[in-house]
Amino acid sequence: MIEALVIAVPALPVACGLLVQLARTPAMADRINLAGALLTAVCAGLLAILALVDSSSPTQGAWYVVDGATGAFVGVVAGVGLLSALVSPGYLASADRSIFHAARARAWYYLGFDLFWAALLAIPLVNNLGVAWLLVEATTGASALLVAYSGRRSALEAGWKYLVLTTFGLTIALAGILVLYVGLAPHGGALGTLNWQAIARRAHSLPREDALLAFLLIVGGLATKIGWAPVHNWLPDAHSEAPPPVSALLSAALLPTVILVAWRVLVTLGPALRAGVGDATFIAFGLASLAIAVPFLWRPLPWKRLLAYSSLEHMGVLALGIGFASPLATAGVLLHLAGHALAKALGFYAAMPLLGHQPESAERPPRGIAKLSTGTAAAIGVSLGSLSGLPPSPLFFSELLILIGGIAAGHLVVALIAAALLGLGFLGLAHALIEGLLGGEPHRPWPRGRSVRVTERLATVIGLSLLVLAACAYLLPGSATVRMLMDGLT
């Protein structure tokens, strides 16, 4: 059962993307993609549930692993992918230009979208660092053209920066994998040498200097793809220029998925390093990301750029939680992963009616949305309120868990600095929220068109889901999944 699902989950979107190419009308393409997305999400959801329920006894195959981390990440990627697939027809109907020829633009969009989603779903499943790297690199190829989908000059710039910076970053990560491979198998190895369990088993035989070099190259290289400061330059541009459904996938699914690869590297290779070096590397990336992001959260930025810098902040929070490496912080990481994904995806979907009715919002911050469209205002309010960490947002509880976990792990100063930065970030986002909803001069309300109605419904569903997640804050600490993650990823 599990093996069938492991194969089906990444294979279904690939098949769907190919099937869409046969569609004769835009409506047929939309229907095929929606059906494929629903089927994929059902299979992925089932796999995630099985993985989380059975997280105390993970399943492994020759090339895959299904553990608690797999369950959490596959569930999040599947959820965000489904939501993005649901809103894509609305985006495509309103897109007036594309980097592709008009007649094939929709088919290419869906092919890129589905291949990107398939790679994201496969990354948490694979049991091998080398294969995980190949899939991370594959996401670049699939998503770079999607970032530039609108074909505008700014989108071309964002897509090119994304392609070049992340490709070179991943080249450095591959150099690290090569160093690790040579160290683990000096007389020649096989693909299995880079299996997560094999790395964990043999890491202690590595010379400490080689282990450190491999670790720094791999994590430093992956950091460019995660968008951790100071190698985050592509992130604000790509997130702000990509179509909203793709921005949601980039921020809520891609960045955390690559974090999982870095996390598995930390857990498997970390014991070969001098004590605390691996954790300190994550903490350094986390603090740097928070410190770089927070000043931008205070600036009057266009909506999607504000969300992009918020992604930088939240990836920093995840890095801190992983670096603290305590049970409470780990519970916080899981909660933060899911809460950030839902809130951030909703924020990007809200950009569709916003940019549709107020195109100038691409250049400057939105103002007075509550007077123009209550549905869009609700989505913006739920999204930004949650992302700022306003209670009862799950991100409030997850950040609290991470900070307390940090203090429990003996990182009092780091936790205090992070708390101060998070407080400043909260104030910046709260200001943006108040101005965005209530500021500006009154204008004629927007018609309650399709994009507003869809956004309104998403705000309701995601708002309720965020409340359910907040309730999970009480369940996660001490759970089997957290224990499994603390004992070491499989």
């Binding site: 190949l134 190829g141 770079a144 071309l156 090119w160 080249t171 090569l178 020649g188 096989a190 600036r299």
Partner: protein, 205 residues
């Protein structure tokens, strides 16, 4: 691996930093890939799987990708020398400084021959340097191929090589990434009338 091969690889990368014409840079990268491909085939003789993989890598990197980039150059004629390009000597100085610094700072990581290790690290650094100091989009794609050739050189020095699955996956990824880079290069040229990436500077906060 002979010193002659290592010198060809290193000088080829340095030449990409200096040359003006995109077609010559593509030819230099193709030559690098060809030399590495022949080396891989020589080492693989007697092992059918390794021979097949080496052949596929050679075909992709020494023939298919340079042909693709060459096609893009043909379709995107540049009106003249790019004003944003720095003097070749300045480019060479910066690239050499980056490469030498990286080679000096990088600790030994266990390859059998130190000169192969240094050349591999130097090629990766030069690939990054090419992306930094060259403005035309096609040169930045060439920089990626030079860096990847550095890693391929290191992988050839590993006993029994890198796992076949990863080598084939890597070739697939490179083909996809370079194809996407080619598509971008053509679109950038169509939009701006040149492939000068220094014009891509409008997004700032």
């Amino acid at each position: 691996m002979s010193h002659g091969v290592l010198w060809v690889l290193a000088l080829g990368a340095l030449a990409v930093v200096v040359v003006r014409r995109r077609s010559i840079a593509i030819a230099l990268v193709a030559l690098q890939s060809l030399v590495l491909g022949i080396q891989a085939i020589t080492q693989a003789s007697g092992t059918s799987t390794a021979l097949l993989v080496a052949g596929i890598v050679l075909l992709a990197k020494a023939i298919a990708l340079p042909a693709l980039l060459g096609l893009i150059v043909l379709r995107t004629r540049e009106p003249g020398r790019m004003a944003s390009e720095r003097h070749p000597l300045a480019r060479l100085t910066v690239a050499l400084a980056i490469a030498l610094a990286v080679v000096t700072l990088m600790p030994r990581f266990g390859l059998a021959h130190a000169d192969v290790e240094d050349t591999a690290v130097g090629l990766v650094a030069l690939g990054l340097a090419i992306a930094v100091v060259r403005r035309p989009a096609v040169f930045q794609a060439c920089g990626f191929l030079v860096a990847e050739n550095g890693l391929y050189l290191a992988a050839l020095s590993v006993p029994r090589g890198f796992p076949v699955f990863i080598e084939l996956g890597l070739v697939f990824d490179i083909v996809v990434v370079i194809s996407v880079a080619g598509a971008f290069s053509a679109r950038i040229h169509g939009e701006f009338g040149t492939g000068d990436t220094s014009l891509l500077g409008g997004l700032r906060d």
